[in-house]
Symmetry: D2
């Protein structure tokens, strides 16, 4: 049995070797107790607890053929379309349990990406990476490791290539018999301070000149030469107030910059080294996995927002008003649209290698993410509308705790008698903190690739020339036509196609 409890995870983080982590200019002593980071730890922890909770363990556990044991699904390699569907079901549920980004998906998607990529490389004859990776996978599964994944380089000037601005992309500086040395930084790394290890991957397709940037590996956070600077988030100032309502201290998330200063990576943790031709393939495989996932976690946050808005409408007696019902329905529609295309990406999956590398349907995965770049802002707007002006003007919890003011607040902010004013304020703060969060808004736009990146893939997959042929046939310009066997006018998505570079 290799399933850690949440508590075991927290203890592991608490007692690991010192990692150099900075928050708001100061080095953090204990991330599990720091007011800025503790909520992240609690959200990450939920991914472990889920494997033991009755309502979620059927989703959170999976059988690993690699270790012949039940493992936490967050370390599982997908073996079927159903596995992919379980993934987004699990994510939706964990959003319900946390109200936040629980930060363990990138590492999970990285595992699956490396599994497929090293397998594809192995099929071409180079088996080392695959063998190393399988060993690493077993280690991760057996120890239920908390992984982060790091893809996004800092990129500098977007019109320059890696070799034209080496500091802007993480790179290999030296290769020895035993391992490699890497330097550079990765940005926007979700949950980095709450992870035990990080899997590092290249951020884009590469040319031969960029080969030193085509590197994938894993490393513990407490390796020498690593520094983490945690980034700010909307409303984060409140976390430092040590309150219990306004800053929503229970569970949250963070993202950060991780800097590698000549860090040594032993060879058994190197999964790609200067294979520049495979870099784009790896990125595309990862992106699609990650884009699919957003159909689960973001719709889960959408549920939280819908529930909060509905509660606020009830508190003032308007939940049955037709325009409120209409707006709630619209929120559900948008939310289930994200989830539904995520389900399509899962259940209409693609088998990439013989013994079962299941990859998400890339068209639907990209559609899912593209919707996710749009709908959360709309859902937030609708929730603001339903919530009323109070979402922007409510008194603080400190006012509520001042007995003189509490009396006034209770008198004047009372709605339907079934609800206390404190409940009203708590839900207002929940809604404010979730609907205007980095996790629901900014991450939805930029996580797993900015909106334009999905459009490029969608545009590439669709076979316009075939659609044109259909049009010519129907307009009687061509008397006959070779219809594809597939109903969809998509290009064949095989490993050769996957690798095309996103420009």
């Amino acid at each position: 049995m290799v399933l850690r409890t949440g508590e075991e995870y927290v203890n592991a983080i608490k007692h690991r070797n010192k990692v150099e982590i900075y928050v708001m200019g100061n080095e953090v002593n204990d991330v599990t107790e720091h007011p800025f980071l503790k909520p992240s730890i609690l959200a990450f922890k939920a991914t472990y607890d889920a494997a033991y909770e009755e309502d979620s363990k059927h989703l959170a556990r999976a059988w690993s053929v690699f270790v012949n044991d039940e493992v936490n699904r967050f370390t599982h390699i997908h073996r079927s379309p159903e596995d992919l569907a379980y993934k987004i079901k699990l994510l939706r549920k964990l959003s319900h349990k946390t109200g936040a980004c629980f930060q363990r998906c990138v590492g999970w998607d990285a595992l699956n990406t490396l599994y497929v990529t090293t397998k594809l490389i192995a099929e071409k004859g180079k088996k080392d990476y695959y063998e190393r990776f399988i060993e690493y996978l077993k280690y991760v599964q057996k120890n239920d490791i908390a992984l982060a994944g790091a893809m996004t380089d800092v990129k500098g000037v977007r019109t320059l290539k890696p070799h034209e601005q080496p500091h802007a992309y993480l790179r290999v500086t030296e290769v020895t018999k035993d391992g490699i040395y890497v330097s550079g930084a990765k940005a926007n790394i979700t949950g980095i301070a709450a992870a035990e290890e990080v899997i590092v991957m290249p951020t884009r397709a590469m040319s031969e000149k960029d080969q030193e940037f085509a590197v994938a590996f894993s490393t513990p956070l407490d390796t020498e030469g690593i520094k983490v600077i945690v980034g700010r988030q909307i409303n984060d100032g409140r976390r430092m107030e040590n309150g219990e309502i306004d800053g929503l201290p229970y569970r949250s998330n963070h993202e950060g910059l991780i800097v590698f200063d000549n860090v040594f990576i032993p060879m058994e943790r190197v999964f790609m080294l200067k294979d520049w031709q495979m870099s784009g393939i790896l990125v595309e495989i990862f992106s699609a996995y990650h884009r699919q996932g957003y159909g689960g976690c973001k719709s889960g946050l959408g549920d939280v927002i819908i529930g909060a808005a509905y509660n606020l409408a009830k508190q003032i007696g308007v939940e049955k008003a037709p325009h409120i019902q209409n707006k709630l329905t619209e929120m559900v529609l948008l939310n289930e649209n994200m989830y539904g295309t995520g389900m399509a990406a899962s259940l209409d999956a693609i088998k990439l290698c013989e013994d079962g590398c299941w990859w998400v349907n890339p068209m639907f995965a990209n559609i899912t993410k593209q919707l996710v770049t749009r709908f959360p802002y709309e859902i937030t707007k609708l929730s603001t509308d339903i919530a009323g002006g109070i979402i922007g003007t409510a008194p603080s919890e400190w006012d509520l705790k001042n007995p003189k003011l509490r009396q006034l607040i209770e008198k004047y902010l009372q709605g339907i008698m079934d609800y206390s004013t404190e409940e009203r304020l708590r839900i207002v703060r929940l809604l404010e903190n979730v609907s205007f969060s980095v996790a629901f808004l900014i991450e939805s736009v930029h996580g797993a690739g900015s909106p334009e990146a999905q459009r490029i893939v969608i545009n590439r997959i669709y076979d316009y020339d075939y659609a044109e042929k259909i049009a010519k046939y129907l307009a009687n310009i061509e008397k006959s036509i070779n219809f594809k066997e597939n109903a969809e006018p998509w290009k064949k998505t095989d490993t050769e196609k996957i690798g095309k570079q996103e420009k």
Copy 2:
């Protein structure tokens, strides 16, 4: 082998007994030759040909356990989620083959609806309907019958119930030992003049007072007492010109009003009789099946429009312009979003009875249709944008056929030399006729229920109270929560739920 060829279908229609069908005020002699209706016959015919064409027979054939033979899928009872996915794949492909609504889906969805409904009634003890229906199903499958389905009553004043305005709903006027007599009319009946038989179903949930309107049956079109008045469609005037371009005479579709004047239905064709409690259930089952289907056929028409717009952009050399690429991508996004949710409705299907009644996922099916009520107008707008003003100002084919004018048209409407001016005009007319068609626009809004009907179902399925509980838990108002086993905050969709009336 019970698979008819297209030709066999056309001959059957040609040689059936006289049916009283009117087009533009006149009775039609031979629907297979009438310029208004022939394109409908050709589109319907494509559903038969598909079972013999190499590129589609894997989609268009299915194995029936009822007749132990291969049947045309349009008569098939879905036995798995994959069957449901094959349905929308088949529909997408047939849209490519016809550029029209091929009109055979309503009858198909009616078969599946009656299968499930009579089965559910049988499970409650009343087995007659189910037994009769199975016999009828075998007859349909063995003879590969061309079916229409008739649900929508004329409805009169929407605020009155059936028993308050009996003429507005089709009703049973007499019941004898051998059968029943029915009178009334059904409106908006797709492909009615091209079908051999029609399956009639009630249009809404009923109360006890409305029981005489709760009736389902099938009947050949050539039964005494039936009249059909075919409705007009956008641009239909051109069909009567006997041209070959402007009216797009190859394949099209029609809808009509069918009137029943004291028509006798033998008891073995009666599948529901005054079971008012089951009327709403039947409607809901049908609606979801039909709403799912739109994810296939409308995305197929979307492909035609995308292909035509792309061709027109190429003809004038602008297909690579960033704003054109952006608009094409947006069209694909909208189109695949409709299709993707349709796939989710299929692959995440629900088993409604023990030995396998597979029903579409009702949340996703309703989302699919709701998207279909919105996106085609947007796709049409984008295609107008890409096509250029010529879509509204191009000369007629009659101008092209006037040698003096042809010379001018060829001179002045020439774009890139690879394309002839005739090709340009043909594609312009294809795009005009498809993008501004009843099939793509109006049917997308109102077919399978008007937009508000889907919103009511979506609103009903979603469990707002559960979402509220999640919010209260996350805001620390409730310290614990009973999470559902399912990740989705949906109400359980069982046969009891299905039956709730759409108001």
Copy 3:
């Protein structure tokens, strides 16, 4: 008194010299009686009648300082912001009177464009054009001439310039002492067969190599060498049926291709000749005038559609349903947004020359048109939704005129008793013909420049660098800032700016 009656206009058209006009392959004998063109004549006629009708003459008449008399506003040079507001008020009202595009705006906008452009050229010292134009203006005003305007060249391959494909742009082939000879064609010309004269303008900015294409002039339609090929429109086949309902024969519009085969233009009608530097300026001035106008005429058609949808909702008793009210309100919102920005373009006008050339506000005019490229499709969708499926399936007028069928139709399509079934069908046909018309949809997208053209202008007018400075100041990067005197961060729009080429 120089105000013609509508009848006088029709007679003038009827009795002019023979013009070579083709409709559906055949030459037209009398445009005022041809079933395809008569509705256009009747819509054009409404612009004359308006000057005599009590409810509109305050809008349709204006005082001309050039002829010192009251003239039809469609020949008036705007002398104030209020004049510009009267323009769009008049257009909105005429849409109410016709339900169509009345086709006289392009000629009007051409007059104002030539007035401003020749004036600007005169201010630089070249006074001939201005003097000729004023003479022509007086002639037009005194005789209340029916003008068309022709700008759009056929353009061929969009990536080639005029001199690279001379046949694709109208050009001067010879210049003599007395006049010029021109050849080529202009496409998408609104109302061309219903006009007495046409003002021809260049279609884009030109380089020196393109100077022979930089030509503006006017000519009567009955000049030798001119041919007109009238284009098809959605639903036009019905016009030929000689019915009174389905084809909406009362008033309509048309667009066509006008071909010039070595046509002689006397010098006193030439208003620009090889002044390639002014070509872009002329286009920009015209475009903004024409884009503003759409705020009037399209919102007027929107009113017709709203009224028709509202009527159909009332006929079946649902006009008070919250979702219907919501959709009606949305239609009004979209409609008044188009009109409101048109009003802003008018009342916040710009004075371009000393003695009062009033030009519309180019930012607001372009915003107006950009909205017009989007909202009509949305309004049409909402009207389809409210109207119900009948909009795509209603019987023809020929069915209604068949006594046997009329009885059935009256029985089964009856709604609320206050309305006859014939009224229902008439409103259905009105809505179908207007909401799916070239005038409301396609012309809204492409008339006065395709959507991208407005975006280019909006992007050019807005001063991003200034907005950036504001941001830097507010972020305390710059301690001080030179604010513009104007509140809007727009570039100065003067005659020098106007001339920049739209690429």
Copy 4:
């Protein structure tokens, strides 16, 4: 000369009598120095400074016929459509100067509302209110008083009327010869802690039973019995950090709850007392004034966001990428659409009383606000897209100030060399704080009435019956029609119409 400087305003606030103001649970000693409130004072101050700054004094000053002197426009009674246009120009410019809501508009709109309302009451014979108000107006203008306006009651259960839940609406508890006593609370009061006086108005139309709630008056903040509880805002926790970048401490705004505990108002400051019939009229007049204003201030904030996004695009070298250009153009389009309808509401104003009460055009004012409830979320989304992930993950200013980290941040967050990393972070924080602010998002939805309130007015103004008549005329159902003189199918908006209650 009655124009205060900004400094004079700050001093007046600093030295007024003690007002009981609470922020985050604690009473505030000096609002001008409190880190939470000082930014509000600075934004308010900008309205005074504007009257002395060269680039704005032409907008910020106006001539008062009441005091025969130049006054700050924020105390001015609009005397013409141009005055109304100056209002929104001034607001747009002040958004540029502050990047915030400067909080002085509600008081200004209250002045204009009371001017019109008391005038209308005076015309019916009751002149006291008008006379008192004019005296008060002179006092305000001569002393350039900083006014807040308080309309929104706390409302409790929305389905109950004021007399059914008296604590939920501010009310008159006693009337004496010298004045009145009032109790209750007003919520969401913009800038309340930064104002010297507050004008209180009723929040809705009233019935006779609600007459004690129909009261309007003004009072200094330092009157006995008044308490203010300042509400929280997104990101407000950062204001307490005493930093100079992350919390954007320069200028901001606040809203709060003001409580009246048996407060005495002398009769010369009472402008409406139990005139329940006029309560709805007052609300409608105020709402339209305030809705128009949003066209100015929100488009001004839009400029700031566009400028910041543009800067960030330039910093990484992508500002010319077509998709970035397209998104920038879309932001401008949305922004200018809000402003343009605001201009139409101004320049197409309505004269409500003989000697010149100029009211905004209510259709366009409501359209303006309705757009403002939608577009800011879209503009924010587009700016997030352009800005990149850094908007949600950037290090804090405290990291930048840590020399060890500064070096890393400068290395890894550097883009184009022209820009320093500190500039990048400053602009990121500006964008984050403005684009995710209460002022730009929540206030845009709920300020001046929630979205549904505008829809009700739009729906009421539009004359559907007239539109229906037009449709019937055009469908030839009616042979003639009485067209309105006005081109717009709007109901006459006069004082009688104004008063209809918003339900």
